[in-house]
Amino acid sequence: MSLVPTDEQRQLADTAREFLREYAPVTALRQLRETHDPLGYSMDLWSRMAELGWAGITIPEQYGGLDFGFAGTGLLMQECGRTLAASPLFASCVLGAGAIALAGSDAQKQKLLPLVATGELRLALALEETHRHDPAGVGIAATRSARGWELSGVKQFVIDGHSAEQLVVVARTGGAPGEQGGLSLFLVDAGAPGLERHRLALLDSRNAARLEFRSVHVDDAMRLGEAGEAWPALQQVLDRGRAALAAEMLGGAEECFERTLAYLKQREQFGAVIGSFQALQHRAAQMFAELELLRSAVRAACDAVEASPSMLPLLASLVKARANDCAELLTNEAVQLHGGIGTTDELDIGLFLKRARVCMQLLGDSAFHRARYASLRGF
């Protein structure tokens, strides 16, 4: 295990930070929001990111990627979290490409991963069916048809679901909702007849969609992996997603904290900067401690993706629960310590708070992950 970024990784993070400051500052998100941008992210930004190789950061070289390792993904996500940069990086490259890489055949990888790596093909993972994260609870059925499979049902909270060109859909080909066995993964074309996509307006001004499948036909060639056997790969994809998301949340929390700290040193009341009040100093110090622990957990989880996959489930639940709790604490404290101005739309802190709330629900809240951690540890 390595918890310290290499020189190469540090360089990547520095470059990313500079790039995002220039091309995707927080004002860019405001603009997407103000203009009701139909896509929810800038394609211009996405092609620049792809040019830098970000879209293929964890994709193996043989499939056109950089093969930089998952720690690289974590660092990019962390930097994106700092500026609230909206892009398909998470949905397409971590979740979508992850599913193909872990479950797909070599032919499928040959065909699809190079397109993801250049940014041309955008993917999304359609998993949830209710308002609570529940991967084993998947119920929508894929039934055998003469020409392949037929999908019917509704998927919720699909990140980038309205903009992706292809969807990785988790469906049930056997077993009952609640069971891990019987799940399968299918690649479905966004334009498939019978598929309706509806973009949701969430508080973070980013992207999620509800997808309605009405007898959507899927060729058997579009099945990723064995029918009914998707659980292990799905778990891994979700755990990678949790680690990546936690990295983004760390970035957001760090940014919120630094902005708050700067305010504590600048705002004066009672003839002194408010950062000289011990009650506030202790709250800041506690936040610093939370961030330090989260930092270690993020590094460990991202590192485990390649270095110790057997530890990944435990670390992914550890890091997602921590990131949730830390993001909640830090965004709330950031508002409180700014006083009245903290509650205004003018200040960016509110945008960080809103993004944090979405991330906290995505791929499992803290209660979900503490229960999962407990099960994995055998209590």
């Binding site: 310290v4 401690a289 270690s296 540890r377």
Partner: protein, 398 residues
């Protein structure tokens, strides 16, 4: 196999061969060996274990050979610790000399002081106590008033120290004393080594809420201390004291991680005292969540400790992470102790007698004893002050 893997395997097999089975059981306070002139071994196995470790020089593996250590690097010493923890090996010797004074002497002591004291510590011949706090000087340690005046080639000491853990059983005390009352408060302090057998020292034990009598008030009445026992420069004791405090805090932040000292682990305790369902899960969702929170906090603290080591080796990172460890580690240890008592229900209320098992009583007393962790060695509030000032650059408060 890499060199470290070879070392790990060798260390492990040596420990397996040499650590008696009884010394791989969780330890109770009564079973600890503290060494010293009047020290006695709590059992024959404790003696065998200590003597083997002493001969192997693994009581202080990272100390130089000349001073009773094995001269190993930080990483190898860590591996030995790791393997001891995994096997459940007890510490062969509990010693403030090892944890606090030794590292400070290695950094600041004269050759004569190192030759005299370090081997005695490593071999368990001298037991030390710490004379920092005074009735009027706790968190604000630098306001201490115990006076040491120079008289020929001696210092003459007058005053008193309080909360001196184990002063009634110690052979030596390392003390902060005021040698220059006119100077600014941090600049008039010196660091002295004092033989507890010196005439003029009296010790009065104080009982703790846990029922143990761990600490004392120590009085000095015209106690004569040779000038050769001054560590570091005259009036320059504050620097030595601060370096030593760093070791103390590191030690305290690791207390929860030293699993060999536990009556029960938290998970084991849950399985014994809480209803579990058919799959072995704790049935009460709230208790299960509390336990998961605790285990996850310990996990994150452990990862952070590892990150600190890796960063210091790679000369990377902010160097500020260590500042949070005493606060996080001790607060979590208090939470763990409360959680275990809560899980035990009314069995977690026993004070003494046959109606409660040994581990039950140890848990109760451990819970009470753990309250001291966030007070001693710089309280949690002081730790937060330090973080605010040093890590965050917020304007100083007193």
């Amino acid at each position: 196999m890499s060199d470290t893997a070879v070392f790990r395997a060798t260390a492990r097999s040596w420990l397996e061969e040499n650590c008696p089975a009884s010394q791989r059981q969780p330890i109770t306070p009564g079973e600890q060996y503290w060494g010293g002139r009047n020290g006695s071994f709590p059992s024959e196995d404790a003696r065998i274990w200590f003597e083997r470790m002493r001969e192997q020089r693994w009581v202080v593996p990272e100390w130089p050979l000349a001073y009773g250590g094995a001269g190993l690097g930080e990483q190898e010493a860590r591996i030995i610790k790791d393997e001891m923890r995994k096997l459940g090996c007890r510490s062969p010797l509990y010693s403030l000399g090892i944890w606090m004074l030794g590292p400070a002497l290695l950094e600041f002591g004269s050759e004569a002081q190192k030759d005299e004291h370090l081997p005695a510590i490593a071999q368990g011949r001298a037991r030390w106590c710490q004379g920092y706090s005074e009735p009027g000087a706790g968190s604000d340690l630098a306001s201490l008033q115990t006076r040491a005046e120079i008289d020929g080639d001696h210092f003459v000491l007058n005053g008193s120290k309080i909360w001196t853990s184990q002063a009634d059983r110690a052979d030596w005390i390392f003390c902060l004393v005021r040698t220059d009352p006119a100077a600014r408060k941090q600049e008039g302090i010196s660091f002295l080594l004092i033989d507890m057998a010196s005439p003029g020292i009296t010790v009065r034990p104080i009982e703790l809420i846990s029922g143990a009598s761990e600490f004392c008030q120590t009085f000095f009445d015209n106690v004569r201390v040779p000038r050769g026992n001054l560590v570091g420069p005259l009036h320059g004791g504050w620097g030595v004291a601060k370096a030593l405090l760093k070791h103390e805090r590191k030690l305290m932040s690791e207390i929860g991680i030293e699993s060999a000292t536990r009556a029960y682990g938290a998970i084991e305790c849950a399985k014994r005292y809480l209803p579990v369902n058919a799959t072995g899960q704790v049935a009460d969702a709230v208790m299960r969540d509390r336990l998961a929170r605790h285990e996850m906090q310990m996990h994150a603290i452990g990862l952070t400790q590892q990150r600190i080591i890796e960063e210091s080796k790679a000369r990377a990172g902010s160097g500020l992470t260590a500042l949070v460890m005493k606060y996080c580690g001790t607060e979590e240890e208090k939470r763990r102790q409360e959680l275990m008592v809560a899980m035990m229900g009314s069995q977690g209320l026993g004070w003494e007698g046959e109606d409660f098992s040994g581990p039950e009583i140890d848990t109760v007393r451990g819970m009470l004893g753990s309250k001291a962790l966030s007070i001693a060695g710089g309280s949690s509030e002081i730790q937060l002050n330090i973080i605010a000032k040093r890590a965050l650059g917020l304007p100083g408060v007193t």
